[in-house]
């Protein structure tokens, strides 16, 4: 974790949060692979605390400089509230269609290709975000509801901090994982941005999680 995290979490809380994310993302990967019957590989989740005003630059930096992206965003609401953002570099949608329509690899579709690309991105987002958030909240004994996912094609370099659900001077917790589908060379980035008001609850929930093993 980074220096800003020191202001928000104790060392023990950071370790517990990291382990909760490791378990949640691991379990979500397994469930996802079962649903879509594709081997999915997730990186170790990387947790950072970022000032609201720094989020656009942070995203570009974390994505190795790619700024034009397909961004699927979905709000989740509960004691743990925030916004999930699944980001694919521009062009990944074509690979994803091949991945999810293997029986139709020839590429003839009933709907126009733009619509299919958009629907595929939204569905991938829905499955991935739901699996990850669902596991986190299950481990922390919370329950969340979701807004429908939205697809935004965006140049991150031109996005303003006001786009994100965090005040410019507030902190956001960013949890980032890179996932890869083995059969296709597609990489995506999942960021969970939680609001400052969730942090107080999160700190208590982390302690409860640990105490459940005592």
């Amino acid at each position: 974790m980074n220096a800003a995290a020191e202001e928000v979490f104790s060392s023990e809380e950071k370790d517990i949060l990291q382990e909760v994310m490791n378990i949640a993302f691991g379990q979500a990967t397994a469930e996802l692979a079962e649903v879509i019957d594709i081997f999915v590989i997730l990186s170790v989740p990387n947790i950072k605390v970022v000032k609201g005003r720094d989020l656009p630059g942070y995203f570009i930096n974390e994505m190795d400089g790619s700024s034009v992206v397909n961004l699927i965003e979905q709000n989740f609401l509960g004691k743990f509230s925030g916004q999930a953002m699944l980001i694919f570099p521009s062009g990944a949608e074509k690979e994803l269609i091949k991945l999810f329509n293997q029986e139709n690899a020839e590429g003839t579709y009933d709907v126009d290709i733009d619509t299919l690309e958009q629907e595929t991105l939204i569905e991938v987002g829905n499955i991935l975000i739901g699996a990850c958030i669902g596991k986190i909240t299950e481990l922390l004994s919370d329950f969340v509801t979701y807004d429908p996912p939205r697809l935004v094609v965006q140049d991150l370099a031109e996005s303003s901090p006001s786009h994100f659900p965090v005040d410019e001077d507030s902190f956001a917790i960013s949890i980032r994982t890179v996932f890869r589908f083995e059969q296709q060379n597609v990489e995506g980035y999942l960021f969970l941005i939680t609001k400052q008001r969730s942090i107080k609850w999160l700190k208590k929930a982390l302690q409860s999680f640990l105490e459940s093993f005592m």
Partner: protein
């Protein structure tokens, strides 16, 4: 009977949870490692009876570490501990020579089973 246990996991909390879930008075000498590479080094130094191995770790992941350890000692008894229980993951670690895959987070029951199955496998290789 098992005398020593090596826990390889990058998360100090995960290692602590495993130790908390071990049966009372287990009497094991416990060694710990924070990534696969350290795990291989600890294995080389201490030659533990049983190794619990996480998969998703920095520097060297659990797949590579299992492969390295089994390369050093083809009879090493290793149980993989992971939240990611995809069929292909389970098959891959089995192919690498791990005993089986235990789901994370662990419980007292799953750790007791791991020690029992680990002890059986260890006794077999001692014969």
């Amino acid at each position: 009977m098992l005398k020593s246990l090596l826990i390889v996991d990058d998360s100090p909390v995960a290692r602590m949870i495993i130790k908390k879930c071990l049966p009372a008075e287990h009497g094991l000498q416990i060694y710990e490692a924070g990534n696969g590479q350290e795990g291989v080094e600890q294995y080389r130094t201490h030659n533990p009876d049983l190794t619990l191995m996480d998969l998703t770790m920095p520097i060297m992941n659990g797949f590579e570490a299992v492969e390295h350890i089994r390369g050093l000692d083809p009879e090493a008894v290793i149980i993989v501990s992971t939240a990611d229980i995809q069929e292909k993951v389970i098959q891959r670690v089995k192919d690498l020579g791990a005993l089986y895959t235990m789901k994370k987070p662990p419980s007292k029951k799953s750790l007791t089973e791991a020690l029992e199955r680990g002890a059986e496998a260890f006794a077999q290789v001692q014969k």
